[in-house]
Amino acid sequence: MSTWLTLVIFLPLVGIPVLLLWRGATDNQARTVALVVAAADLLVALGVLGAFDPSVAGYQLVEQVEWVSSAGLSYLVGVDGFSIWLVVLTAFMTPLAILSSWRVEHRVRLFMAMTLLLETAILGSFLALDLLLFFVFFEMLLVPMFLVIGVFGSERRVYASVKFFLFTMAGSAFLLLGIVFLWFQTADQLGSPSFDLRQMELLSLGATTQRWLFVAFFIAFAVKVPIFPLHTWLPDAHTEAPTNGSIILAALLLKAGPYGMLRFNLDLFPEASRSFGDAIAMLAVIGIVYGAVVAMMQTDIKRLVAYSSVSHMGFVILGIFTFTVEGTSGAVMQMVNHGLSTGLLFFVVGMLYERTHTRDIGEMGGLAKVTPWIAAAFLVATLSSIGLPGLNNFVGEFLVILGSFGSDRVLGAIAVSGVVLSAIYMLWAYQRTFQGPEPRAEARRGLVDMVPGEIAAVVPVVAAMLVLGVAPNLALDRINPASEGVVAWVNSVEIDQSGLPGGLRAELDPAFTVQAEGSP
């Protein structure tokens, strides 16, 4: 049994006792410890990628150790085409997040320790195949994120952090009940209780039961995504969080939501997924347009990026609930892409804030002449974010739209408008921030361009964006087998027509059944 996954999950924890107990550490030493640990974890993650066999559709590198045997609880981790890229993304973005916060001055050791704890919790949620284990990691996210926002954020940080914590905890409370219920079902139907996802897949659940459970799971994940109208915590959390926190929140933590839907909702409740699919796709499209329109009206640049996140995550959800291979693979791509481009955006916005001490777009302007490198990085992120071909976001959004046209043309058409709107608000933001008359001399004081450390952090992200934009098959080859598997599974179930008006899509769209037959 290989131990790649255990290593990648728990390696960041090694840094925490060092950081917390090494009282004499200077700030730079503390930062270095965290960076080294995170970088080492990136290497391990690349090792996981190397050990991952793209031709296999199911879970790989599975590790299972009995944890509480009488309760059927086990330490069970595994990776498949959905999680592999999220793992690499997490390990890739964490060191960058650490670099981005090199200038955090107070309580550096606590800050870095929390960042590493977050990395472990996020990786754990992506890799756990035991539902209770997943829940443990999923809830473990809350505390370090709460502290990162609440201790290190800006003025209204306490409000934002408490809101974040309560929103997400309230959401996941029902997830726990759903998991416990499924556990009883495994005991009843399979003879022995288990939290193992692969065992739970075997359960046969009635249509009504499935729907209740679906809702319990869905709410927990929808809060994390966040799906309109559960998104209100996000702009606050993003705006108040320090740069590092925003990057981790946007690039990594939000992904736990759609990942959970893909992994658990679709897998365990295929019939309920199908019957709720239309309604959720509708919410996703509302989120796409709503997020974009609200982003357009923001004067706070961080809030603008936050609302753009709501819009972009709408694409991810839409892709998942098209139940097509293109849509699903596109959604996974889009998760990675959003992580890169929004991560970079928050990074650049953080640099601006450090230098200008304002997030108000109206107070900036003409910065391209003073800080050309920052402007260039922002522009690249902007172009990626609006889906310029050749950069990463294009691939994901294109696939999602392709998938949604395959299932519902109207929704697809409305979703496309989100792309157009994103071009408006992002380019407009760029124009107002970086172009126009040069800032006056006294305002230019302290406006330095990127320092080498920051360049070192930005370059890999830009490179990754280019690579994924030009050669998306590198990623798609590994994602597609998993997408095919889940799409075939969801489409193979008979939908209960007596229930919600969800079954229409399967009838309207012949492509649906064709795909279901074509896949294994």
């Binding site: 917390l20 944890w67 829940f135 473990m140 408490v162 309560l166 409370a173 416990v180 219920f181």
Partner: protein
């Protein structure tokens, strides 16, 4: 015929009571001996009792001894061990507390040992009369311990505790009378037999259930019998609060489990709704009232009320699953709450200073260790993984779901979200606010830190490896009669 006298199964209690008397008299006679020596002797007594209790794990004699008065099952062993562990930590905390506050209280250790005797006896009593005796031993000791400090609040708390406690004892006693009327016996197995064979009066038995539930509800501080809890927890010396909040709850719940799952087992249909209501009220009221508190000891008191509700939630499922879940919850709660009050004591530094929530502002700066440990305990109380509180919460929810009590579990889930808010508020204060008070004196002694580190380690270890005790508790969850 005289019944055979087999003292083996009450050896732990005999050791505890014996040590208490030796420490009490010794402290009075040999005044030159340092107080810490007596504490060590008391600790040795507790350890001896623990060894004696472990020796009973494989007891192969009768199911009850001393004329059916004391049970000999593993459930008794497990609850005794939990209580004894609490007592050991309580002894060390209390010694430190009174030493630092300057109020030398030599009667503290003997009183604590006597209270412990009452608690362990309460947990193993197989006869309602023995249960009542045990209840009085532990209650009287605790009344005095609450009033050990000369502060007005301490005395007020003791008085309140005593008056209300006496009242609840009367209910308990009246319940015993009713049970006797219903079945012609005060022995749990005999009551059970009479009720199962329908030779007893069900009406009287149901009355007995109600009255006894009042008595137990008072001791475990379940709503609506919780009124005394905040005042007593706040008024009592913090070390005493730490000991009694953990110990009393374990003992009273253990006795509750035994009485209701043995004596009234045939009437489980009748008492499950009572447990249901107590659980729901305690979780809701405890969580909501805790929000309004401005003193950390009062807040933890309301939290303890809501936790009583969670234990009851587990107990709605009669039988092993429920008992095992409740036992785990009690371990988790005991470990966590004694640690939390231990940290409160550390922060107070001397006596009862700085227990208002506002004095926790910026604690992470002044005293990172205390702030970190308290956060850990609060997260465990809130049931956030990877702490033991999370595992415990899952266990009781699982038991209640298994028994089909969905609405109760929903209430529990919502209550735990509400509860998260007030625990979080303390963490916010400690980590996200600037200190408001000037650097006051700090308690830098090693002993209490080591003592508090033990529960902290347990919170994490049992949270990550609950399997370490689950097997043990599962075996202990079988009541034999």
């Amino acid at each position: 015929m005289t019944p055979p006298i087999d003292l083996g199964p009450i050896l732990p209690e005999l050791i505890l009571a014996g040590t208490a008397i030796v420490v009490l008299l010794g402290g009075a006679i040999a005044r030159g001996v340092t107080p810490f020596a007596w504490v060590l002797l008391a600790l040795a007594g507790v350890a001896g009792a623990a060894v004696a209790a472990v020796g009973l794990w494989d007891w192969d004699g009768g199911l009850t001894v001393l004329a059916g008065g004391v049970a000999t099952d593993r459930f008794g062993v497990a609850t005794r061990l939990i209580i004894l562990a609490v007592a050991a930590i309580g002894l060390l905390l209390g010694h430190h507390y009174f030493e630092r506050s300057g109020e030398q209280r030599r009667e503290f250790a003997p009183l604590l040992l006597l209270a412990t005797t009452g608690m362990t006896l309460f947990a193993v009593s197989a006869d309602l009369i023995v249960a009542f005796l045990a209840l009085e031993i532990l209650s009287l000791s605790l009344y005095v311990m609450t009033g050990l400090s000369r502060r007005l609040g301490s005395v007020e708390g003791a008085m309140k505790y005593f008056l209300l406690g006496a009242f609840s004892s009367a209910f308990f006693l009246f319940g015993i009378a009713m049970a006797y009327g219903a079945s012609g016996s005060t022995q749990l197995d005999a009551i059970s037999g009479a009720l199962a064979g329908q030779t007893g009066s069900t009406a009287l038995a149901v009355t007995a259930i109600g009255l006894l539930a009042v008595g137990f509800g008072f001791k475990v501080s379940a709503v609506p019998f919780h009124m005394w809890t905040p005042d007593v927890y706040q008024g009592a010396p913090t070390a005493v609060t730490a000991f009694m909040s953990a110990g009393t709850k374990v003992a009273a719940f253990a006795a509750f489990v035994r009485v209701f799952n043995v004596a009234f087992q045939p009437l489980a249909w009748d008492w499950e709704p009572i447990v249901w209501i107590l659980a729901a009220l305690s979780m809701i009221a405890g969580s909501l009232l805790a929000i309004a508190q401005t003193d950390i000891k009062r807040m933890l008191a309301y939290s303890s009320i809501s936790h009583a509700g969670f234990v009851f939630t587990g107990l709605t499922s009669a039988g092993e699953t429920g008992i095992s879940a409740a036992l785990f919850y009690l371990v988790a709660y005991a470990v966590t709450v004694i640690g939390a009050f231990g940290v409160v004591m550390l922060v107070s530094s001397r006596g009862e200073h700085r227990t208002s929530l506002s004095s926790y502002a910026g604690l992470a700066r002044r005293n990172p260790l205390a702030a970190g440990l308290l956060s850990l305990f609060l997260l465990s109380l809130a049931g956030i993984p990877p702490t033991v509180g999370f595992v415990a919460k899952v266990a009781v929810f699982r038991a209640a779901v298994g028994a089909g009590y969905w609405p109760l579990v929903l209430i529990g889930v919502l209550a735990s979200v509400v509860a998260a808010y007030f625990y979080l508020r303390v963490i916010v204060l400690m980590f996200m606010h600037e200190p408001q008070e000037a650097e006051a004196e700090r308690d830098d002694t090693i002993l209490p830190r080591v003592v508090v580190a033990v529960p902290a380690a347990l919170v994490l270890v049992l949270g990550v490896f609950p399997g370490l005790i689950v097997g043990f508790l599962d075996q202990a969850a079988v009541l034999r009669w």
